[in-house]
């Protein structure tokens, strides 16, 4: 007989600007709730251990790995995923730059990478290359070798993606 823990409960959080109430176990990972209950599959699982950053989202403005966040801890928070970034001019500048500079190859790391880039530019609109490397150091990419990603972020910064 398997031991059962807490029952599912209603947990409300704002996702991409809309208030959502999900019925979930408190220890479900925010990553799984976003992907499975809310259908926001843009956020990916690459490692499940907070190493690769493919699951990056914004939680109350801070970049976090959603595979490490129990959904209960996101209660009342404002979460933004790649799908929700489309409205942001700075994010669009980053996306366009990724296309121009070859920042995306297989694309699986791309949502997390773009979130990390936007997070960096929000804090440092005119980053040095070292700032960019540091800002993206928690996002692993196996395809690009990073350089075209770093160049894309630098280009987006230079264009001065409009502040929110």
């Amino acid at each position: 007989m398997t031991k059962r823990g807490a029952a599912r409960r209603d947990i409300s959080l704002t996702v991409n600007g809309e208030v959502k109430t999900v019925c979930a176990y408190p220890m479900e990972r925010l990553l799984d709730v976003l992907r499975e209950q809310l259908g926001l599959t843009g956020t990916k699982e690459g490692c499940g251990e907070g190493e690769c950053g493919a699951c990056s989202v914004f939680m109350d403005g801070a970049l976090v790995d959603s595979c490490l966040v129990p959904v209960l801890q996101a209660q009342g928070s404002s979460v933004v995923t790649i799908e929700g970034l489309a409205v942001d001019a700075r994010a669009r500048a980053v996306q366009d730059a990724f296309l121009e500079y070859g920042g995306a190859q297989c694309g699986i790391c791309t949502p997390g990478m773009i979130l990390a880039a936007v997070h960096l530019l929000n804090a440092k609109p005119a980053p040095t290359m070292d700032d960019i490397r540091e800002g993206l150091a928690g996002n692993l990419c196996r395809c690009t070798g990073y350089l075209q990603i770093l160049e894309a972020v630098a280009a987006a910064a230079a264009k001065g993606g409009a502040a929110r």
Binding site: T2, T41, E45, L99, Q105, C106, I132, Y146
Partner: protein, 755 residues
């Protein structure tokens, strides 16, 4: 065909907008109604007989679908080159993590516990784990002698060569296993019903490989098996053959349960259970003249194939043909073999044997240079292949490749000579030792020898009702740019804008078999067929009187729309025709091994911190001749990405083995480079064209994997004055070598009698 040029232009990635917005759908983003999740019960021992399988208490087994080898309707094997690898172990296991049983359940969270609750009793047998143990043949674990495959290349008279040599230089070089580490793990969804048959969708490189394997495994007719490739998050060869295994598992569960089944590996399972780069050991013995000219040599090359044959013969083939590097060998004997060990089978990984044997020869060339007393650059110049020269398989180099001049250019870009001198001076006073080194190499594009003939690839192009064209290939996109490049080629051929061409989703119901997406053949070989098939639909329209021989894009669109309105979407197919003058002898391993070679010189500049023994790559120059650059941004991206993987291969990526099982199967402990570990990589392209490639292109996907490791290790030797002959080369290894050297030095200095 005048029209907007797209070749040589950085056309934006065809599926790029979906990727940067998160709209691209990978297999785990897809769910089907009534779907079950599958999990695999795997061997915990490296070798033995299965005595008993018990289903533990505490689990309601009635809720689970269970599949064993007994449930396999067809042949219990993963059909590839040979049929030795079981889909599910039946009575015996030959490697840790070998699949034995499958489970499925609607709630994926209950599966790990269920897997753990299955107890398997084994009668262990003595396992073997190294090339040496396999060669000793005290345990025979495969065939009659543990040898999957052997090749022999012989040319010239070696006895005479030894006699005339001024120097005989020996060396042994080893490379370790490397995990492909695509960021998207393996995943498949399978559905089956009697009417439609089996549909398998997922993350894979070669739909028709999976198709062939499913037909054999499930005993289904070919037209009752359908394989569809979904957006694939990286592959690098790791999804060439392995997906047939996971697809087979999902298919068996789907057939037994009559429900869709999804299997997604988590990172740990993917790392420990799937293929890795073949570990290798290469021994060189080379006869050299005093001016550095190689008179001849023996090369003994062994790769570790793991427990089953899978692709080892083909990896060995490429390793063998590249073993001589870009040099002339007046006489040579290459003995190569692939041997079995009780590890999960090793498999395809970008480079596919060439990085292993090229590491050896490029380290060996630096060693020869030292023995002879000439510079690393000079030793290359004396031996480089050139137009009219013969490779070790006696293939004549037909193009005017001038490797000496390429070397000059690469070294100039890297400021090699000035830096080498400066570092030698500065290193005396600094705890950080800097060094610079290079590697020269070649990479044969496309399948070896008669491989392309055997593949007999077929490509289609379709004209649609909208007046646009669709490319029909089984060649897959997994980041390397298939969709973009083939669209560019189709558009260019027909004088259409890039946006008017696209590549159809690879679905075996809809597209012909254009061969596997491997061997750096897609742009070059398949691309050429795409151009040909595109001309085919053009011909259809011309023959129908709807289009002139020269036309504008508008005219084409109009003609295409008109024709399709009447006849429906229309297609033209082209089949691969081998060039007349390609001759290859599979027995003697002699002749035209590849339709084209790419050529490259890579230069690495490193710092070794003698306090932490860590190596940093500070600067990297990658110069390569690639026939024709079809898309500059994509091409540059391929090179940089490959170099980064090469840096990982050289300095970071070590598989920690214990009893045949990978111990560091997490991203925390299997170390790939982050953005903070990759230097500026300066990429330079040269173009000599290629008659056998689309628009003159040669394959470039794998070439960048060959150069970094030897260039970096050569640079480390320059920095420290100590040779290293093994990768991955970790700080711990450098420490041990420096420590031993220090001990030897101090012992040597101690006066006699004092110990």
């Amino acid at each position: 065909m005048p029209g907007p040029a797209t070749i040589g232009v950085s056309a934006p990635r065809k599926e790029g907008r979906d990727k940067v917005t998160g709209r691209a759908r990978y297999i785990d983003d897809i769910s089907l109604p009534n779907m079950l999740y599958g999990a695999t019960v795997r061997s915990r021992i490296p070798r033995g007989k299965i005595k008993k399988i018990s289903f533990g208490s505490g689990i309601n087994w009635d809720e689970f679908v269970v599949v064993t080898a007994k449930d396999i309707p067809g042949k219990n094997c993963i059909a590839l080159i040979e049929y030795d690898q079981p889909c599910l172990a039946d009575g015996a296991v030959n490697h840790p993590e070998e699949p034995i049983l499958l489970l499925a359940h609607a709630d994926r969270h209950v599966l790990p516990k269920a897997v753990a609750a299955i107890e398997i009793e084994y009668e262990p047998q003595p396992p073997i784990f190294t090339i040496e143990e396999s060669e000793q043949q005290r345990q025979i674990i495969w065939g009659a002698d543990n040898v999957f495959k052997k090749y022999l290349i012989q040319k010239g008279d070696l006895d005479e060569v030894w006699a005339n040599a001024d120097f005989i230089v020996e060396g042994e070089y080893t490379t370790g296993a490397q995990e492909q580490l695509y960021i998207e793990t393996n995943g498949i969804i399978a559905t089956h019903d009697a009417e439609r048959g089996l549909v398998v969708s997922g993350s894979l490189q070669c739909p028709y490989y999976v198709h062939k394997a499913m037909v054999a495994l499930l005993g289904l007719p070919e037209n009752k098996v359908r394989v569809v490739q979904t957006e694939t998050g990286g592959a690098f060869g790791g999804k060439e053959e392995y997906p047939s295994m996971i697809a087979g598992h999902a298919a068996l569960l789907a057939m037994k349960s009559a429900r869709p089944v999804k299997i997604i590996y988590d990172r740990l399972e993917d790392m420990v259970a799937t293929t890795k780069r073949h570990p290798s050991r290469t021994r060189h013995r080379t006869a050299v003249r005093k001016d550095g000219k190689i008179l001849g040599g023996e090369i003994d090359l062994v790769i570790d194939g793991g427990a089953y044959l899978t692709l080892s013969p083909v990896v060995l083939s490429r390793a063998t043909i590249h073993a001589g590097g870009p040099y002339e060998w007046p006489a040579v004997r290459v003995e190569a073999k692939a041997v079995a060990t009780n590890a999960p089978p090793h498999g395809a990984f970008r480079g596919f044997g060439a990085p292993q044997s090229l590491f050896a020869i490029e380290r060996h060339m630096d060693r020869i240079a030292k023995v002879v007393g000439i510079s690393p650059a000079e030793i290359r110049r004396v031996n480089f292949l050139k137009q009219g020269a013969l490779t070790i398989t006696e293939q004549t180099i037909n193009e005017n490749v001038e490797l000496g001049k390429m070397l000059d250019r690469a070294l100039e870009h890297a400021d090699y000579h000035a830096k080498k001198t400066r570092f030698a001076r500065e290193n005396k006073h600094s705890p950080i030792k800097k060094g610079i080194g290079f590697a020269a190499f070649l990479h044969g594009a496309g399948f070896t020898g008669s491989g392309e003939r055997y593949l007999a690839s077929v490509v289609g192009v379709e004209g649609t009702k909208e007046g646009r064209v669709r490319v029909l290939v089984s060649s897959t996109e997994f980041g390397q740019g298939t969709n973009t490049i083939l669209s560019q080629i189709a558009a260019e051929t027909l004088g259409l804008p890039y946006d008017d061409a696209e590549v159809a989703q690879p679905d075996t119901f809809d597209v012909p078999n254009s061969g596997p997406t491997v061997a750096s053949r897609t742009a070059m070989v398949v691309g050429k067929l795409v151009a040909s098939a595109a001309r085919g639909i053009e011909q259809t329209l011309i023959a129908a009187g709807l289009l002139g021989v020269t036309h504008t894009a508008e005219e084409f669109r109009a003609a295409c729309k008109k024709y399709a309105a009447e006849h429906g979407a229309f297609r033209s197919f082209t089949k691969y025709e081998p060039p007349a003058n390609i001759f290859w002898d599979d027995q003697k391993y002699r002749g035209e091994a590849y339709a084209a070679f790419g050529w490259a010189i890579y230069v690495a500049q490193v710092s070794v911190d003698t306090r932490s023994y860590s190596v940093t790559v500070d600067d990297f120059v990658a110069l390569q001749e690639v026939g024709r650059v079809l898309n500059p941004v994509l091409a540059r991206g391929q090179i940089i990405g490959g170099v980064a993987q090469g840096i990982g291969f050289a300095l970071y990526e070590k598989v920690e083995w214990r009893e045949g099982r990978m111990q560091n199967g997490q991203m925390t402990n299997y170390i790939m480079p982050t953005s903070a570990d990759v230097p500026e990589i300066r990429v330079f392209f040269e173009e000599l064209g290629n008659a056998h490639g689309a628009y003159g292109a040669k394959g470039i996907g794998e070439l960048p994997m060959d150069g970094p490791a030897p260039a970096i290790v050569n640079a480390i030797e320059d920095a420290l004055g100590m040779p290293f002959d093994s990768v991955p080369l970790l700080p711990e290894d450098i420490f041990e070598a420096m420590n031993s050297a220090a001990i030897r030095d101090s012992e040597a200095r101690a006066p006699a009698g004092v110990r």
